[in-house]
Structures are given as C-alpha cells and as structure tokens.
C-alpha cells in the first residue's frame, strides 16, 4: 500500500474526530458560549497559515541562492496551502467577532497583519497563475516571498503603534480539556496541511514535466 492514500484516509477520519472534539468533547465556554468553539479551527488555521508563509519564505530564499526548481515548487506549494488556511482564518474570525465584539472587523494588529499577509500571498498566487511560468517569474515570486515576511512584522508594529490595544490571549486562559482539544485539532490540521503541500508540490512538478515534454515534442516536429 502506498503511504499517501492511507494518510489521506486517516486525515479524513481525523477531521471527523476534530469536529467531535470541538463540538462535543470540550466544555462550553462560560462567557462566550457556543461561538467560542470556532476557535478550535480558527487558531490552528492561523498558525498553519503563518507556517505556510514561513515555508514560502524559506523556499524563496532557497531558490534565490541555489536556483533549484524544487525550492521554487516548495515555496509555491506552501504559499498556496498557506493561503487556503489564511482564508479559513479570515472567514472564521469575523464569524466569531460579530457576536463576541459586536463588530465583524477591528483595526487590531493581529487582524490587519493577517489580512495583509493574505493579500501579499494573493498577489503571489496571481503572479504565479497569470504571470507566466518562465524563470524570471519564479525569481520575481521569490523576491515577493522574501520581502513578504519582514513586511508582516512592519505591518504588525505599525498597527500596534497606531492602536496600542491588544486583545486578550484566549489560549492562555483556557482549561486543560480545551487545550487538549486545541492541540489535538492542531495536530490533525497539520497532517492535512502537510498532505496538501505534498500534493500541490507533486502536481506542480508533474505540470512542469508535462510542459517540458511538450516543448521537446514540438521541437521534434511531432506536434
């Protein structure tokens, strides 16, 4: 048996378990009520989003220094999957914020830096999807991947300086059952994350191969 389908099947079961953990296992949060349960998906998604973009940064640096295609593919796959988790964060966050804060959005450092990060990597994705697939575009994207990461730090600092308020750390004051659920769900989602990155990496690699073969064929006059 191949490991990839098995891991995929297991991670699908894991996602069911994650829902059980978030909706049944953990006790009801006293002040926020049921809506707090969204945090078991929101917080791990945010961490995985940061991880994806960190991996994109690493891949981009690797590509600029070695010019090996695999670093570029790694950066691309990481950015794509990070972007998906970023969207999950930006959708689940307001869903929670509306009942808890009374507003869909707040100009608060973590929110703004997450939104900006997603925006930067949307640009990255648009560039990779519509900008062509030449070597120059890969370098362009790599520069974006490298510039993106320190930029988030600046955005975060700027909004903190501007607002000066920080929301409460929800994870810190949760009870042990909540923490068990949170980290279990994080582990499950991490597996999904890794599988998705591996799959996207393979798909891009194959697409690259197909393009190269097509070029060779057309040079040989067969197409």
């Amino acid at each position: 048996m191949k490991p990839f389908p098995i891991a995929t099947a297991l991670s699908a079961l894991g996602l069911f378990a994650a829902h059980w953990l978030a909706f049944d296992f953990v006790p009801m949060e006293r002040t926020m009520g049921a809506v707090q349960r969204i945090f078991y998906f929101h917080v791990p998604s945010a961490w995985l989003c940061y991880l994806g973009f960190l991996m994109c940064f690493v891949g981009s640096v690797g590509y600029l220094w070695t010019r090996r295609g695999r670093w570029d593919l790694f950066a691309l796959a990481s950015a794509e999957v990070g972007l998906i988790f970023g969207f999950i964060v930006l959708i689940t966050g307001p869903l929670w914020a509306r009942p808890a804060w009374g507003a869909w959005w707040r100009w608060e450092p973590r929110l703004v830096s997450m939104a900006l990060m997603v925006l930067i990597f949307c640009a990255y994705w648009v560039l990779r999807t519509y900008g062509g697939s030449g070597e120059g575009v890969k370098r362009f994207a790599a520069i974006l991947g490298v510039f993106g990461a320190p930029n988030i730090v600046f955005v975060h600092l700027a909004v903190r300086k501007w607002r000066g308020t920080h929301p409460d750390q929800v994870v810190a004051r949760s009870d042990s059952d909540m923490r068990v659920a949170l980290y279990s769900i994080l582990a499950i989602m991490l597996v999904v994350f890794v599988l998705l990155v591996v799959q996207r990496y393979r798909i891009h690699k194959n697409a690259f191969r197909v393009r190269a073969l097509r070029r060779r064929l057309s040079r040989l006059g067969a197409m």
Partner: protein
C-alpha cells in the same frame, strides 16, 4: 581595467537616467499629469467642510504618492528593455547593487518632482493650510517616497519578465508598501492635528526604519535576482 567604484556607478546611472528623462520628459510628464488628474479625482470625491477636508488630506496625499509612484517605478527599466540595453547593463563589470541604487534614486527624484506639484495643489483644492507643518510633511513624504522606491524598484526589475507586468506590479507593490502608507497617513494626520497620537516623529522614524530595512535588503538580494 578595474571595475568602477560603487558610488561612481550609482552617480553615472542616476545622471544618465535624469539626463534622458529631462530630454524626453516622457515618464515625468505622464506622472505629473496623472498626479494632476488624481488631485481632481480626490477633490471631487472628498471635498466637504474644512474639518473633514483636513482629515481627508493625509490619505489623499499618500494615495497620490503611491499611485503616481507606480507609474514611475513601472518605467524603471523600460528604456533599457526597449533598446536591449538591459543585458549590457547587467553584463558590465559594474556592481549590480550600485545600478539598482542609481535606479532607486532616479525613481525617488521623479516622485519628489511630482509631489512638489501635487501636494500644494491638493492642499489648495481641499483648502487646507499646511504652511505651518510643511517641513515635517515634506520629510514624511520624502522618506515615504524613498520607501516606495526601495520596494518598488527591485520588483519592477523582476516584473519585466512577467506577463501583464503593468497590471501585476501595483498588485504586488501596494501590499508591500502598506506599512509606509499606514505610518505616513497617521504621521501626516498627527502633523495636521487631526489624528490623536504622541508625536509625528515616531512615525518618521518608523518609515526611516522601513527604508533602511528594505533598501539594504533589496540591494543585498539584487545580486541574486539578476544573475546571468
């Protein structure tokens, strides 16, 4: 023959670009015209009572800087690309970082000229008196224009290779200069007394830190960007 020194390359590239630009005035005129059009767009969109105008002015100023800057930055290597001189520039023994720095300063100079035109005009049309705080606003915009140039110029070099470069460039550059935009709008707001905050200098320092970080980072990476 020894390769030319770093600063002399910067100077030669900058002087060459400014000289050709002053002869054709192609980029400068388009930027200035666009700035002019923008002031009308902003004036028609936002003009209201004096207190509101004063609040709106920082945003209009900084948006103008970004929008006109995009035009200039997009043209950074246009002349070289059209005439096939880009390869010659890269193959020359000159330090590539120096070439980039010369280009960055060229873009900065262009933005300065345009902003000298746009800032008084916007203030005039929105009827805000900025003479009392002109110095600090000028400094903020100067550092902001530098921040835009240091981020935009290397990306513009890379954009030459992409399809839809002229559309892609603003999509890529605007999110990256957001820290400058936030700091600039807040800082100018504080200078005009419409934003609550400690003092405008903190934001000036913030933009300066951004300029140094991305300027040095870009120059350092440029060697990696354009090998071969």
């Amino acid at each position: 023959m020894n390769p030319p020194g770093f600063l002399s390359v910067v100077g030669v590239v900058l002087a060459k670009d400014l000289r050709t630009e002053l002869r054709s005035k192609q980029t400068l005129m388009t930027m200035a015209m666009f700035g002019l059009v923008l002031t009308f767009v902003f004036a028609f969109s936002f003009v209201a009572d004096p207190a509101t105008n004063r609040k709106v002015l920082p945003g209009a100023l900084w948006a103008s800087l970004l929008f006109t800057g995009t035009l200039g930055v997009g043209r950074t290597f246009a002349r070289e690309a059209e005439l096939g001189a880009f390869a010659a520039l890269v193959l020359s023994p000159a330090d590539r970082a120096a070439v980039l720095l010369g280009k960055m300063l060229g873009n900065l100079a262009m933005s300065i000229v345009v902003m000298v035109l746009v800032v008084p005009l916007l203030a005039l049309m929105l009827r805000v008196d900025i003479t009392a705080t002109a110095a600090i606003i000028a400094l903020q915009l100067l550092l902001g224009a530098l921040g835009f140039a240091v981020v935009g110029t290397p990306l513009a070099v890379m954009a030459v290779n992409a399809r839809f470069a002229e559309v892609l460039l603003p999509i890529v550059v605007f999110p990256l200069v957001t820290p400058v935009l936030i700091a600039g709008v807040k800082g100018t707001g504080i200078a005009l007394g419409t934003t609550i905050g400690e003092d405008a200098w903190g934001w000036v320092q913030f933009i300066a830190a951004f300029d140094v970080a991305f300027g040095v980072g870009g120059l350092f990476l440029f060697e990696r960007m354009v090998t071969e």
